[in-house]
Subunit: 479 residues, 2 copies
């Protein structure tokens, strides 16, 4: 796992933090949060919170007391223990794109299929930079709606041996996720001791948690499985247009969800979620990789640390339609602040295109390149006699070159990050190789990676039990 | 001008700074720096420094005493006073690409021509994000080598009313730059009082200043014109492969040049230069936008501030051949640290491609987009009652939207940065518009900008005097 021991870049002054604190306390108390599920309302009522219809008017001190029950850091197990992840502190875990109904390969944009889901899972398995393939990597159009979560889970559990995300479409799907986790990891007790999935609970921002998400939250929290409580905010639509207001709303939403998780089961591992960008105020389109989203991300990290909570951000977000220049700079405009802020759980780390509507094969490869670069960039310098290289200067002298110096010879294989997608070929060589742009080179790379895919070893008995579960449940669901 | 009042991102501990200090003092004292110009050697000798052949073994305390004579901040005047720049402190000034012999427009890569030089100058004039078109924006192949500096200067002085950079090919060229500055700004006294050009003095790293660069330095310093003393370091070739060693070398080179500038004329405005990246250790190709260059840039800012000097960095650097994904992310991989470090004079801010061999029209447009985004991102949040927007929450309530809220209506035109190149069009609209990638959209934009160019007003008498000077000097130079 990547441990980010570089300094955090924090841009909110203590005064600013105090203003945000006053504001979230007021919003929580006076406007409150809607929970569209009776069990949730009942839990808050029993805990002494004021509930009017579906709205809970929360006492900030009560909420902070709940938040304090959540672990500051926690582990999630993968079926290969070498791929276990630790959430929190300086650790950063990366998972693939989540949610797109479409896929892009080269110039073709089309409906996502189950084979695409499997392909992206395989790609994620093959790159060390990804700690998880994700969850709903894409929505496979060629599988029945009611049971596709089973197919997706089976693919995540068998084609990778990394951590995976749970399904949150309904309580039923959450229960299937948990049941399949029990099969893979040796029963309920084992997964309650160390959780085996991370699930994304999105808020219907502003200030409303919907019934299906809450159903899932209830299931996962009961089973001690981590949940990412994520305000889903496109400023201008789901929040006021000003960043401070969006940050305040984000705090209220995230903390209210986290408080509920703790009411369901004290100690439930939670992640302070953030999905914060803005719309284009002329067209209403969502925009990603924007300056506002970068600022929001930096602030979110600082805020989550103040509450002692691990936090989640987006990864390589962009509105671009393909892996072109805009995709390159917008993705980095999110990913660089992600590293500067030290996000603990990074979703959409690879493959996101077109505002999340498209999972892109070439984009996936490009994003892995960015992750490699940033991991190198956020590695502290080692400064010692050897790295200061005085002797190399004595050897080379004035106006010489260091290509053949002893200091260089000892280090040349590993001294610099070496890209696998970016080209520093000179013009002649680049032309001889077909004048390929980054997108075209990425196309060659992902195809080769898929050919080279090797399934991680798996116990046949467990695999068969998972397959039997999927067949049985699919029949029960009528598909 | 852009003032960057966000925090600086500093990654060197005090221990690290102390190690670098010990190391640069030792390197300066024991290995010394070569100066390939008798006047420079004589100045150091007279100042009591040990000179052996062309090598000056410098006393660190003497060097620091010279450095202390340089102004911490200074002004440079443009012929339109609204475009004057202030170098140092929180201010960041941006100039265009510098040096490429080739040009790219769309799929065509060809020799740069004087018309290209003029075009890039016009583009720089038209974008507020650029404080200067630069100097050698490209090397115009269709003009005679000995006198092309005159054509370039005339273009910079007449087609823009912004600050420009001086020519450094030789002392002769430097004198022409100064003479034309005197014509434009009203004589020697005027330009000595407030300088009118900034000139790039590159070190022949490692640890050697060449004769032509020193000739230029001598001329500019005598005239009180600012110089950027820039170690030119591709780690692995011009310095050891380790970043700490490169930083130490960079300090020794920059400070030795700065000390010389102060010996020539105490108080000469200087900029601590940095051009720091690495080569690919397999091919020997220069690489840009690398993690190592990003780290180097962050450290350089911290170091320059320790010496109380303004500093220079590169802007949108990339090895990419066109404005594709690699160009997008590599450029931002340099530009984001440029803002995080608060570089005061940013060269190659727009148009750089292919490791600096190519000035790209589309790339120019892409880089301006990045500059706009970063300027927005590095603008501090305003947190007050209005931006916290409590009333908007009361108005909208739970699960609603803010599109029509009063708070939104009052701010929607200016609340978010609005890109001019990036597209957030939905797939249908994007397809109807021709499915253009970023590079293709940039192509449309730069052509339109060139059509819309309007020359800034200029006194006819001065223009004619400049033209007469160019004609006379061209004849004298035999072209």
């Amino acid at each position: 796992m990547f441990k980010n021991t570089m300094p955090r870049y924090e841009i909110l002054s203590e005064d600013a933090m105090a203003s945000l604190e006053t504001a979230w306390r007021r919003l929580m108390t006076e406007v409150g949060v809607e929970f569209m599920h009776d069990d949730a309302l009942e839990l808050f009522r029993q805990a002494g919170q004021k509930v009017v219809d579906n709205t809970v008017f929360l006492d900030p001190e009560f909420v902070l007391a709940q938040v304090a029950k959540a672990p500051r850091e926690f582990d999630v197990q993968a079926r290969n223990p070498a791929n276990n992840v630790h959430i929190g502190g300086d650790f950063m875990a990366f998972s693939g794109v989540y949610g797109p109904p479409f896929v892009r390969e080269g110039a073709v944009r089309r409906d996502a299929m189950m084979d695409d889901f499997r392909n992206f899972t395989k790609l994620a398995q093959g790159y060390d930079e990804l700690d998880s393939a994700g969850g709903i990597i894409c929505e496979p159009y060629d599988t029945p709606l009611d049971s596709r979560h089973l197919d997706m889970l089976l693919a995540l559990q068998t084609l990778t041996d990394k951590v995976y995300m749970g399904n949150v479409v309904s309580g039923v799907n959450a229960r299937d996720t948990i049941a399949m986790g029990e099969i893979l990891f040796g029963g309920r007790e084992a997964i309650e001791e160390t959780p085996v999935s991370i699930s994304l609970i999105n808020c219907n921002s502003p200030l409303r948690w919907d019934d299906r998400m809450l159903e899932s939250l209830l299931e996962y929290a009961k089973a001690g499985q981590p949940v990412v409580l994520t305000p889903f905010i496109l400023m201008g639509a789901m929040s006021p247009v000003t960043i401070p207001a969006a940050l305040v709303q984000q705090i209220v939403e995230a903390l209210s969800g986290i408080a509920l998780a703790q009411l369901i089961r004290p100690g439930t591992p939670v992640i302070f979620g953030s999905f914060l960008s803005n719309i284009d105020m002329q067209s209403g389109s969502p925009c990603f990789g924007t300056p506002e989203s970068g600022i929001g991300l930096l602030c979110t990290g600082q805020i989550a640390r103040r509450f002692g909570l691990p936090f989640r951000s987006g990864g390589g977000l962009t509105s671009a339609h393909q892996a072109d220049a805009q995709a390159g700079y917008e993705s980095l405009m999110t990913l660089m602040p992600t590293f500067l802020a030290g996000a603990n759980w990074v979703m959409h780390s690879a493959g996101w295109l077109e505002g999340g509507l498209v999972a892109g094969y070439e984009k996936f490869v490009m994003d892995v390149e960015l992750l490699q670069m940033l991991r190198a960039e956020f590695t502290p310098l080692e400064i010692d006699e050897a790295s200061l290289a005085f002797d190399a200067h004595v050897e080379v002298g004035h106006g010489g070159h260091f290509l053949g110096a002893m200091h260089t010879m000892e280090r040349f294989r590993t001294c610099f990050h070496r890209p696998f997608l970016s080209s520093s070929d000179n013009f002649d060589k680049w032309t001889r190789n077909g004048s390929l742009d980054t997108n075209e080179r990425a196309s060659v790379i992902y195809r080769k990676r898929l050919e080279e895919y090797e399934p991680p070893p798996m116990d046949d008995g467990i695999r068969e039990e998972l397959e039997r579960y999927v067949i049985r449940r699919r029949a029960e669901l009528g598909d």
